[in-house]
């Protein structure tokens, strides 16, 4: 055993490292094993782990997605327009109802005033006859 002394030079260590770390042969059937694994890998069904959005790379799916998006935008627009129109109709009906209620209220006030006035005249006329 060649034992380096305490003054062992770094160059000697490096030389020993080169010897210790020389390339070693792989097992004799290494290449065959790799080829067998490659063949096995190629023959086995591939489980694709593509991201979900990769389906849009297919032209049919892409066109279907574009059509669906356009249709949903159009349908959404129509629906939104209808909702807005219905709401406007509702607002107009509400305004009409409020106007009708205001008119009815003023008429009621008028009728009430008349009734009060009649009541007042009826209560004053018998007292006069009693005095006479």
């Amino acid at each position: 055993m060649t034992v380096p002394n305490t003054h062992h030079d770094m160059n000697q260590i490096e030389e020993q490292l080169k010897n210790a770390l020389c390339r070693q042969d792989a097992p004799p059937d290494f290449t065959e094993q790799v080829l067998a694994r490659v063949a096995e890998h190629n023959s086995s069904p591939q489980i694709r782990c593509d991201p979900w959005w990769s389906i849009f790379t297919r032209p049919r799916v892409r066109w279907a997605a574009i059509t669906a998006t356009a249709a949903s935008i159009v349908i959404g627009g129509i629906y939104h327009n209808n909702v807005r129109r219905e709401r406007a109709k509702g607002e107009a009906a509400k305004q009409q109802l409020m106007l009708a209620l205001r008119i009815a209220g003023s008429k009621l006030q008028l009728a009430k005033a008349k009734v009060n006035e009649l009541n007042a005249t009826q209560t004053t006329s018998p007292s006069r006859s009693e005095q006479e």
């Binding site: 380096p4 770390l21 792989a26 290449t31």
Partner: protein, 176 residues
């Protein structure tokens, strides 16, 4: 190795791939073996690297590119493998090496040296392996491991000093 090797042998044929594996298997296997100090694990890891190479062949342009890619992938796989397996394993390296040919020089000392190298931290160990097995310079190692050249140099210096100290200490223990 000629850069035009890939052009001469179209990589999509099985024969060309087998030729690539045959040319580089010793390099990949040795990096894994010296790093993991476990023959069966090194063999499995090397096979995985070549399997990955087969999938990436169309992206590799030249023989040099293949060599660089293999070193890079092997190095990173080794470091990842060791990081995942923190539980100490019984290494065949420590038991017997029936297949491995004895390297030139003192086999006992070199075996001891390999044992000491195996005790280095992951990245430092890989740097030492790439430096002394593959004879790469710090710049090339930095490219393979995607780290600054200065870091590689400092790792190398520290590792060499540590190795020298550990080897001397272990030899001292043996002689005592």
């Amino acid at each position: 190795m000629a850069d035009s090797a890939l052009a001469e042998h179209p990589p999509d044929t099985a024969t060309a791939f087998a030729d690539l594996v045959h040319r580089h298997r010793s390099m990949v296997f040795s990096i894994a073996l010296h790093f993991l100090a476990d023959r069966s694990a090194a063999e499995e890891l090397a096979q995985d690297v070549f399997l990955q190479l087969h999938a990436h062949l169309p992206t590799l342009k030249s023989e040099d590119h293949v060599t660089f890619w293999l070193r890079k992938v092997t190095a990173h796989r080794c470091i990842d493998y060791k990081r995942r397996r923190t539980v100490p394993q019984v290494s065949l390296e420590e038991v017997a090496e029936p297949f491995a040919p004895a390297p030139a020089g003192d086999p006992i000392f070199e075996r001891k040296l390999r044992h000491v190298i195996a005790s280095l931290p992951g990245k430092a160990r890989m740097i030492v392996i790439l430096r002394y097995q593959e004879d790469l310079g710090p710049e090339d190692i930095a490219q393979v491991l995607s780290m600054p050249v200065a870091t590689v140099k400092s790792h190398l210096q520290r590792s060499l000093a540590l190795l020298r100290e550990k080897v001397l200490r272990s030899i001292g223990e043996v002689t005592i």
